[in-house]
């Protein structure tokens, strides 16, 4: 109801349940730190160390897996529900007033000529948009007018009719610290190596292609990019696509179909969900990052076969993401791979947020855990985030990529990638790999890791409830109450810090949150300023909920997850 323009897709409400998600699935291993292999990681030992459950799981993990989801305090949960209750009541009241023409209805309306058509929208569909989202709509879609780097310029706008329309004042709020863009490695730049290379290509090639890869749009540049991506990922071959979202939604249907089973994490991105649906395969959903839930589904699937006919499944595909953009959690990849091998399933890993952002040389979650990329059947990722460009890729075995070249919807029907965008990716990727002869890339990766640890530690110390893995540059800070969503966004912007706030339906109804995305471009001063302001606003809005409590482990049996069958 509050914001739909969010990254993660939530298919159902699982409200309070997920509070118990800590260290889910893994039997509590030995507590304590394992020595890190990576030089850039400083060993922090905070006082709250004991609240983490470090999973070792039979030595699958080569590094500590510190992921925490503190339980929602009871009082906060009750107040949050009350808040929604009051908002809903007032919504009904105002709808009543609008019906009786006491309050002016600001909605755009149907043409007179089409008043007798079947209504385009059901009235209740827009109830929350009209009555809840509209109250805090100013927190989203804020236009910016500069590079989305460490700092950006936000266009000032005002609304004289309670957010129904906005007027641009023409003023610009300069140098707002950007905690919202997915600029993990700081490659969103308008000068320097990448921008210069892209500029040359713009003048040589123009920006369009006006044809598909299969027809007349297969540039040598595209092939160069694909070879580079394959080399970067350590896979046999790769293929690039013009849009990250479409990479998922247009390629999953090429890989699985009727008679196949897709096991999908409940918090997977909308594009993965759409791709799975379009494929026509049966979809079953497992609890977020919960390996017991996944294993149970795998076992049941193989033992019972397809519903009704009991024929064995043709193939089973596990869909997971590297970093979940709303939770800040990192996939338990070593366990997923172990399960995948044990049950002969295939693994589709979406590294939209983790590529570039994790691992000592930025090669994503596979490298982060020290695993072999060959164990992941389909390596997918985007160029939008760490590379400061646009588009997506799929990497894997040569047979897979050859197959996609002939069967991908994208290659045959969609216009191929814009040459300057391709150039930006090539240059930034080479920089990350150190092939430009400098250590800029490696420095950025190191800086991001340091920023992440510093920022997360400070927020924890201040007493905020933050979700996710200690190494994840996506940092969700829990707000819970609907009124605080708007208030936090506005108060932070007042203090010249741009943050992203999200609520239902991108999150469970009571778990509204603010989200910070760290970047290698953030300096220590910027982070300190941001932290100071967050603390100030946190005091103002009473957001420091954390009681540093031990989180109960998930030891309940799971409920049956729902099944979706495309007939």
């Amino acid at each position: 109801m509050l914001i739909r323009m969010t990254e993660s897709s939530v298919k159902k409400l699982s409200n309070g349940d997920r509070c118990y998600r800590a260290s889910n699935g893994v039997k509590p291993g030995k507590n304590g730190c394992v020595k890190n292999h990576y030089l850039y990681q400083k060993q922090h030992c905070y006082p709250e160390e004991k609240i983490y459950h470090v999973a070792h799981n039979g030595g699958l993990y080569k590094r500590p897996f510190n992921e925490v989801f503190e339980e929602t305090p009871m009082l906060v949960a009750v107040l949050t529900y009350m808040g929604y209750g009051i908002l809903t009541l007032f919504g009904y009241l105002r709808d009543f007033l609008r019906d009786w023409k006491i309050e002016k209805c600001q909605n755009a309306t149907e043409r007179e000529e089409q008043k007798d058509f079947v209504p385009l929208y059901q009235d209740f569909e827009n109830f929350y948009t009209r009555n809840l989202y509209m109250r805090i709509r100013d927190s989203w879609n804020r236009p910016i007018c500069s590079v989305p780097g460490a700092k950006f310029d936000v266009m000032d706008r005002v609304s004289y009719d309670y957010n129904w329309t906005f007027k641009y004042t023409g003023k610009v709020v300069k140098d707002v610290i950007n905690m919202g863009s997915y600029n993990y490695l700081g490659f969103a730049e308008n000068h320097g190596l990448c921008a210069d290379a892209a500029a040359d290509v713009t003048m040589k090639y123009g920006v369009g292609v006006s044809s598909t890869r299969r027809e007349m749009g297969n540039l040598a540049k595209h092939e160069e990019l694909e070879k580079l991506v394959a080399r970067f990922l350590g896979v046999e071959a790769a293929m690039a696509f013009g849009m990250g979202f479409a990479t998922n939604s247009m390629n999953i249907p090429a890989l699985v179909g009727k008679g196949c089973l897709i096991l999908s994490d409940e918090l997977n991105h909308a594009s993965l969900v759409l791709g799975a649906r379009l494929s026509g395969a049966t979809i079953r959903v497992f609890k977020h990052n919960n390996m017991q839930s996944l294993e149970k589904l795998l076992r049941d699937a193989i033992v019972h076969g397809q519903p009704r006919t009991h024929r064995p499944w043709k193939k089973i595909l596990i869909l997971v993401e590297g970093i979940y953009s709303m939770e800040g959690s990192i996939i338990r990849l070593p366990e997923v791979i172990a399960l995948k091998k044990k049950y002969k399933a295939f693994l589709y890993l979406d590294e939209a947020h983790s590529i570039g952002a994790l691992g000592p040389s930025g090669k994503g979650v596979v490298e982060y855990f020290g695993l072999d990329p060959k164990d992941v059947d389909i390596m997918m990722g985007t160029f939008t985030k760490s590379f400061g460009a646009a588009g997506g890729y799929i990497g894997g075995k040569k047979e897979l990529i050859d197959y996609l070249f002939t069967h991908s919807h994208s290659a045959v029907y969609a216009t191929s990638m814009s040459p300057p965008v391709v150039e930006q990716i090539i240059t930034s990727m080479k920089c990350i790999m150190g092939e430009d002869g400098t250590s800029f890339g490696r420095d950025r990766i190191q800086q991001l890791a340091e920023n992440t640890r510093y920022f997360r530690r400070k927020l924890q110390e201040m007493g905020f409830i933050i979700y996710g893995n200690n190494d994840s540059p996506v940092v969700p800070l829990m707000l819970y109450m609907p009124a605080k969503i708007g208030a936090f966004g506005r108060e932070m912007l007042k203090r010249n810090i741009g943050v992203v706030v999200v609520g239902f339906p991108a999150t469970p109804i009571i778990e509204s949150r603010a989200r910070f995305c760290l970047s290698a471009a953030h300096t220590k001063e910027m982070l300190d300023t941001a932290l100071r302001m967050i603390s100030e606003v946190g005091d103002l809005l009473q957001l420091k909920y954390s009681r540093h409590l031990l989180v109960p482990l998930l030891d309940r049996p799971f409920e049956t997850t729902y099944e979706e069958n495309e007939e």
Binding site: K204, G208, V303
Partner: protein, 478 residues
């Protein structure tokens, strides 16, 4: 109170005495039946598996999945793509040979335009390349707002919304409105992105014959009778017609005035996909509505990509705010995807400027289309399919050999023949197994305003030559 209860009890006992015997026997029997149902073994719909752990392990051990992708035999290697080095503009280097481009949809030649490039460059110097976020989270740039405003103004609609990928535009727009249970009437020749949008919407799809208004009316009448039978359902079932302005698969123009008539007669909304007709048809290039002089407000939604005439990347939808604004929260490809790189938006704005400044280019394009269209008539073995003012039309085999594979090979032969003589052509490619109605194999010829009279002549005569050479050859060979 107590006495009242007692009285009821007395009455009950009395009724029991007075009841006929067969009644008591029947009731006794029913009670026994209920008892039996209560105590019988619970019957479960789902079959219970009483497999032991060991049996389960064995099943898991035995299960062998199909390979992730089908194994390809060595004699059927995947087809090689043609490789273009350098830009895909008027002159193009394909597989190392310089050719005149008759394959990319760069109708107005704006891909190579210096003004467009310079604007893109200026934007790049200001904003960098990527936006690093979806529209909701600081991915909205002032350039996006400007482009949306300009597109709305150009099309003379209230509002426009831009997507970062042409294919995703209509594929996201359809499911934003049409949901499960709704009814969509769609032309059989509809392009693949429409088909995907329909699939994502899970609506009830009814295909009508290509451009056949009688067939469409037949379906609409059928629905009308259904509606009369079930008026409650009819009140909530949304209905749409999805058509293309200029069909990419056939080169035909949709009969829009008739469609609008049907729209009001049967109260169906029209969603119009104009990727090919935007910037092509009409005096000002506003597309098929301008071509027929149809009021644009009569069309509920127009969608087009910016990858053809505008020679940039992405797509847009336009129409009344009542309709379009809904996509800002419900268009999946809009909400969940990173926004369009600002430099691509800036290029599109400049391309719009050029289109607004010089409306002669649309007339010029039409003249060239007609020119090559008539020059290609009467080739033995090849048939021209598509309107004479369509800048993308098809050359199909007059008589299929009976095997699609062989047809494709023949057409490829013609293309290679032309490609060796500086004319770059391409076949219309489809995913054979995915298309709902697979069009016959064809060569898709694309006309742009940059092609000179001589080049058009040359292309036409080369195709003629190639057809003679290759088609005659095979006919003799068989």
């Amino acid at each position: 109170m107590a006495s009242g209860q007692q009285w009821v009890l007395v009455e009950m006992v009395q009724a029991f005495y007075e009841a006929p015997a067969y009644h008591l026997i029947l009731e006794g029997f029913l009670i026994l039946w209920i008892v039996r149902l209560l105590f019988s073994k619970t019957y479960k719909l789902q079959e219970r598996s009483d497999l032991t752990e060991k049996e389960k392990e064995e099943l898991i051990e035995d299960w062998q999945p199909e390979p992730l992708v089908p194994l390809v035999s060595k004699d059927h290697p995947p087809p090689k793509y043609d490789v273009v080095s350098g830009p895909t503009s008027h002159k193009i280097i394909v597989n190392g040979k310089e050719c005149i481009n008759f394959a990319s949809f760069n109708f107005l030649g704006l891909l190579d335009n210096e003004r467009v490039k310079n604007q893109a460059l200026t934007s790049l110097k200001k904003y960098g390349v990527g936006t690093c976020g979806p529209r909701g989270f600081y991915g909205t740039f002032d350039v996006h707002l400007e482009l949306e405003e300009r597109l709305a103004k150009f099309m003379r609609t209230e509002e426009a919304i831009i997507y970062s990928y042409g294919f995703a535009t209509i594929a996201s727009a359809i499911p934003a409105y049409s949901k499960r249970g709704d009814i969509v009437f769609v032309d059989e020749a509809a392009c693949f992105s429409i088909q995907k949008g329909l699939q994502a919407s899970r609506s009830n799809i009814k295909y009508f014959k290509h451009n056949d208004m009688d067939d469409l009316e037949r379906l609409l009448k059928e629905l009308e009778t259904e509606d009369q039978e079930n008026p409650r359902k009819a009140r909530v079932t949304r209905r749409f017609i999805v058509v293309e302005g200029l069909y990419i698969n056939t080169g035909d123009i949709c009969p829009l005035p008739e469609l609008v008539q049907l729209k009001y007669k049967y109260k169906v909304r029209i969603l119009l996909e104009e990727s090919l007709s935007f910037g092509v048809l009409g005096e000002h290039g506003r597309g098929v509505t301008e071509h027929f002089g149809v009021n644009i407000d009569d069309i509920d939604l127009i969608s087009a990509n910016m990858e053809n005439s505008l020679a940039s990347i992405g797509g847009f939808c336009c129409g009344r705010s009542f309709v379009i604004d809904h996509q800002r929260l419900s268009g999946q490809g809009y909400c969940f995807s990173a926004s369009l790189p600002p430099m691509l938006a800036a290029a599109a704005i400049e391309a719009l400027n050029i289109m607004e400044e010089d409306i002669d280019i649309f007339r010029l394009l039409r003249d060239k289309c007609k020119h090559i269209h008539s020059a290609l008539q009467g080739i033995s073995g090849l048939e021209v399919v598509g309107e004479s003012i369509s800048p993308a039309f098809h050359l199909q085999l007059e008589k299929s050999t009976g095997s699609r594979e062989l047809d494709v090979k023949l057409l490829r032969g013609i293309i290679d023949y032309c490609m060796n003589r500086q004319i770059a052509l391409t076949q219309a490619h489809y995913l054979d197994k995915e298309e709902r109605f697979l069009p016959p194999p064809s060569i898709r010829v694309v006309v742009t305003i940059e092609q000179t009279e001589e080049e058009l002549e040359k292309a036409a005569s080369l195709i003629k030559e190639a057809a003679q050479h290759i088609l005659q050859h095979t006919v003799l060979g068989h």
